[in-house]
């Protein structure tokens, strides 16, 4: 396996544009009423339309248009009042009609942008278009495609709805590409129109990449990278491809415009030249569907349903709660987590403390159990309660951290647990003093050493007292009292 290599770009710079295919979370397919549910018996979610039977016709699912408008608005695109579907013609067994219904000229959304943070700076990546299209079916093989005697086709996925989101070549580095993809994915998740799962292919990415001499305003010949099904693959394949192209040009060679396939195991890209390349898709307007007319009223109705988006939320959190960028990037990357945060600070208005606890204790537990913040057994009210107990000295930090897993897993209120287990912090001077005196009484040698100047023995006495009080002694008070007593004041 090839390890990542940071290329010396020398006089060169790289230019990238990304095409993202997002599977939409509609209940039914884009052109028929069949279910989009995943994992059903092969070919059980099919009908004459999505099987491409002779004479069957497509009828547009309006929900897909709603979703496309949503994404368009979130990406600051213009929404076309009239857009059209087109047929993209090619032969493949998973494509039952011999053409894919897509949009070509006149897509529904055009000319938008998405802001990302790169090296602490805000950068605008322009979005060329967002368009609607149908997915193809799936070839299934008994073993691998190479050693199967035949292929089987499952058309359950055929005609499930996709949005294609195409960026302009505004992306300069593989890191930026990943940042852009993460931000785009966060937006789709915020809009609740895509589950964002890259491994299962519901959020797929193809990358166009070229290199050129620094300062040039002419784009070099690009290659198109396919099969990038994780953020890591995107970064690795782009790194590899930039190095390959620069090395090639430096040697006096020329980049060929082609599609390349990323092999994740080897960490290299391969040319897919040949049958894939000669495609002329012969696009023409789909005669079975009328133009999609979206009036301003429709657009405004959709606009009303838009939530606060990740970038706006990040900026507001920094502004309103004075949180560092690192914190807000984590909190705002997930709408549910951001909501959890805001619910908690309503009850415990110390944003940074809440943020720290969410980013460490809570996120660790959520990730371990693969649980969404909204399904957490520990509601914001419990976290606030825990932090309040800590703040007013009822329990120590140590106890708070210790009991966190239990209150997370059981859903029991922190106060109740603390009481039941007798974990209340001891803040009574005489009780603490009594233990201090006991410890000192049985440690004459340590006392003498301390008084002779070995001040680091303070730790020893703190430890002993804590041990006796099972960690419940108020640490601040204990320190004060112990010092006084040791110094014989």
């Amino acid at each position: 396996m090839r390890t990542r290599c940071i290329v010396d770009y020398g006089d060169y710079e790289s230019v990238m544009g990304l095409e993202v295919h997002a599977h939409l979370l509609t209940d039914s397919k884009i052109f028929c009423g069949c279910s989009t549910a995943f994992g059903a018996e092969p070919n059980s979610h099919t009908c004459p339309t999505c099987m491409g039977l002779p004479g069957a016709l497509p009828v547009l699912n309006k929900k897909v248009v709603d979703f496309a408008i949503k994404v368009g608005l979130a990406l600051h695109c213009g929404i076309s009042n009239k857009s059209i579907f087109a047929r993209k013609n090619y032969f493949y067994p998973d494509l039952p009609k011999g053409y894919q219904i897509s949009q070509y000229e006149e897509p529904i959304c055009t000319d938008g942008y998405l802001n990302i943070y790169t090296d602490g700076e805000k950068k605008r990546i322009r979005v060329n278009r967002v368009h609607m299209e149908e997915d193809a079916g799936k070839l299934v093989h008994e073993n691998t495609i190479e050693n199967s005697a035949y292929s089987m086709v499952d058309y359950n996925r055929s005609s499930t709805p996709l949005l294609e989101i195409v960026s302009e070549p505004d992306i300069a580095t593989p890191e930026e590409a990943v940042t852009y993809l993460k931000m785009l994915r966060d937006i789709l998740l915020y809009l609740e129109i895509c589950d964002g799962n890259m491994e299962e292919g519901s959020f797929r990415c193809d990358a166009n990449i070229s290199v050129r001499k620094k300062g040039s305003d002419v784009l070099g010949t690009r290659t198109e990278m396919k099969n990038l099904n994780s953020f890591r693959h995107v970064e690795k394949s782009l790194d590899y491809e930039i190095e390959r192209q620069i090395t090639l040009i430096k040697k006096g060679g020329q980049v060929i415009q082609e599609t390349r396939f990323f092999n994740a195991d080897e960490g290299v890209t391969y040319s897919m030249r040949g049958k894939e390349e000669a495609h002329d898709y012969r696009y023409f307007p789909e005669p079975d569907l009328l133009p999609i007319i979206v009036d301003d009223k429709w657009i405004e109705e959709v606009r009303k349903t838009l939530p606060e988006l990740p970038m706006e939320k990040m900026e507001r959190f920094m502004d309103e709660y004075s949180l560092p960028k690192y914190d807000v990037e984590i909190l705002a990357s997930d709408k549910e987590l951001a909501h959890y945060f805001e619910e908690t600070i309503k009850l415990f208005p110390e944003p940074k403390t809440v943020s720290n606890w969410i980013m460490t204790e809570l996120l660790r537990e959520l990730k371990d159990g693969n649980v969404s913040p909204k399904d957490s057994l520990l509601p914001p009210a419990h976290l606030a309660e825990l932090l309040t107990l800590m703040k007013d000295g009822t329990i120590s930090i140590k106890i708070a951290k210790e009991i966190f897993p239990e209150i997370y897993k059981t859903g029991i209120a922190p106060k109740k647990l603390v009481e039941e287990k007798g974990l209340l912090q001891i803040s009574d001077e005489s009780t603490i003093m009594k233990t201090i005196n006991e410890v000192i009484a049985r440690s004459p040698k340590e006392l003498a050493d301390f008084r002779a100047g070995k001040e680091k023995l303070l730790g020893f006495f703190v430890g002993q007292v804590m041990k006796e009080t099972k960690g419940q002694a108020n640490p601040k008070l204990l320190n004060e009292l112990l010092l006084k007593r040791l110094k014989g004041e």
């Binding site: 011999g98 053409y99 012969r282 696009y283």
Partner: protein, 489 residues
């Protein structure tokens, strides 16, 4: 009893209601005639005798129970292009041999609701591509008026079966004249409704933006009765017009006083046979005698219609026929790999004319040629539509010949596709403009071959066209069935 071959559906239903004949008897009568005469005419690809008699029995039961439906117990022939659940539907192509649709076309659903009886599948040019029914993969249908001649096409089987009295009526489809031209050459009534008036769901597509289903019958009354059943909005066809349909049959019998009849200047072309010209002139004066006025109109872009049509229809066909790839249904010729299988299947499965048109359509959509061909054709199509819009400011209907000539000899033009294409000059503009067109018999040439008159109407103005046709038919009694086949048995 009067010859039941001369009766309208309304009259036949009277006999059925009065139990003077049963639907089973009527169905058996037609099945007998098919056995007796169709060996010569070859209009049916297959009869569905058991299915027909079963439907007839069900109709008789309903009649006995006093139920009524618009076509209850009436035997029909069906162009083999309309998907019928459980009945082999081939489009007269080897590639669909054995294909049994699991669903009904919307028109078939509507005919079922109306109580019709399905006698069998009628021959046609393969995938409706042709004007003579010589392009069927299975048999060449003969013209009942002269069996050495073609019946027209592509709905040649539908027209010949009606003309020879082998069904009460039939359905055909019309992309560039495929109902009107065979109706004209076989001396029957045929109508192509406004594009979108009748649902195309389940019609095996040739050219989606031009195809339309319509009736062929021996009289205008039946045409109106059938149109009443099949017309109307269908949520399964996005191009179906969401408007209520009038009662076409009820509106028959009104006079045509003051009706303005447009006679297009550009349709006086060379190559119109003198007998056709003469029949036209007589027809116009008949209309005038009934109180109509003839108006000179101009359709300036007529000369581009045939070229425009052959670009648009072949482009759409090349895409529509891509689904016949041997993967899912119909004919498959195995190959050494998938590409080889595609090639062999399509090479052997499609006939010459179909392949010719797929190649032409593929060419005109190809990158680099699109603007010059498909793009320009789409613009000319708009101009042709505007010609009619302008013309209809001066007239209510347009009257033209259907075909410049009467039926030609079988085999006479198979080697000369251009002449064959040009013979559709009067019907093609109607499809390009999406207008309704009707063919009605207006006489015979010196050789005793039928001549058809075309009435072109404004969008959704079928009722007025049928009224004019009904007046014409009442005034000009034309023999509908050749003597040879007009025996009462």
């Amino acid at each position: 009893m009067e010859n039941i071959l001369d009766m309208t559906i309304t009259e036949l239903k009277g006999l059925l209601r009065k139990k003077e004949i049963s639907s089973v008897e009527l169905t058996a009568f037609y099945l007998e005639r098919i056995k007796k005469y169709d060996g010569e005419i070859l209009s049916y690809l297959r009869t569905t005798e058991d299915y027909a008699l079963d439907m007839a029995r069900q109709a008789d039961t309903k009649i006995a129970q006093g139920e009524d439906a618009p076509l209850l117990g009436i035997p029909f022939g069906m162009k083999d292009i309309l998907c019928t659940k459980g009945i082999e539907t081939t489009c007269a192509s080897k590639i669909l041999k054995g294909f049994i649709p699991p669903y009904n076309a919307t028109v078939i659903e509507k005919l079922n609701q109306a109580g019709y009886v399905h006698l069998g599948r009628l021959n046609m040019d393969e995938f409706a591509m042709g004007s003579s029914t010589e392009n069927s993969a299975f048999q060449t249908t003969k013209n009942p008026w002269d069996v050495s001649r073609i019946p027209g096409g592509s709905s040649g089987g539908s027209a010949a079966a009606v003309a020879a009295g082998l069904c009460v009526a039939s359905l055909g489809t019309d992309t560039g004249g495929s109902i009107r031209q065979p109706a004209s050459l076989c001396g029957v009534v045929g109508m192509k409704p406004t594009y979108g008036r009748v649902s195309r769901f389940g019609l095996i597509a040739f050219a989606s933006s031009l195809d339309q289903i319509g009736p062929l019958s021996r009289n205008v009354s039946d045409c109106a009765t059938i149109l009443n059943v099949i017309a109307g909005y269908d949520p399964l066809d996005s191009t179906a017009i969401p408007q209520k349909t009038p009662d076409y049959a009820a509106s028959l019998g009104q006079d045509i006083k003051g009706l303005r009849i447009g006679i297009p200047r550009e349709y006086s072309i060379e190559g119109i046979e003198p007998d056709v010209k003469k029949a036209m002139a007589e027809s116009i004066s008949l209309f005038e005698k009934q109180g109509a006025t003839a108006v000179d109109i101009t359709l300036p872009h007529t000369e581009y219609a045939v070229a425009t049509y052959y670009i648009i229809c072949t482009a759409e066909a090349s895409s529509n026929l891509a689904r016949y790839d041997g993967v899912k249904y119909g004919f498959r010729q195995t190959g050494k790999d998938i590409i080889d299988m595609y090639k062999k299947t399509r090479l052997k499965g499609f006939g010459k004319e179909v392949k010719q048109r797929i190649i032409l359509g593929t060419y005109v959509l190809s990158s680099g040629y699109y603007d010059a061909y498909y793009g320009k054709a789409s613009k000319v199509r708009t101009l042709i539509r505007r010609d009619f819009d302008e013309a209809f400011k001066k007239c209510d209907i347009v009257v033209t010949p259907v075909s410049p000539t009467t039926a030609f000899k079988t085999g006479e033009r198979t080697e000369d596709p251009l002449t064959m294409y040009l013979s559709d000059i009067f019907t093609i503009p109607v499809n390009l403009a999406g207008l309704p067109g009707l063919s009605i018999p207006c006489g015979f040439d010196a050789g005793g071959l039928p001549i058809g008159l075309q009435i072109i109407g404004q969008p959704l103005d079928e009722a007025r066209m049928l009224q004019a046709a009904y007046v014409f038919e009442t005034e000009r009694k034309v023999k509908k069935i050749p003597d040879k086949y007009s025996a009462k048995t």
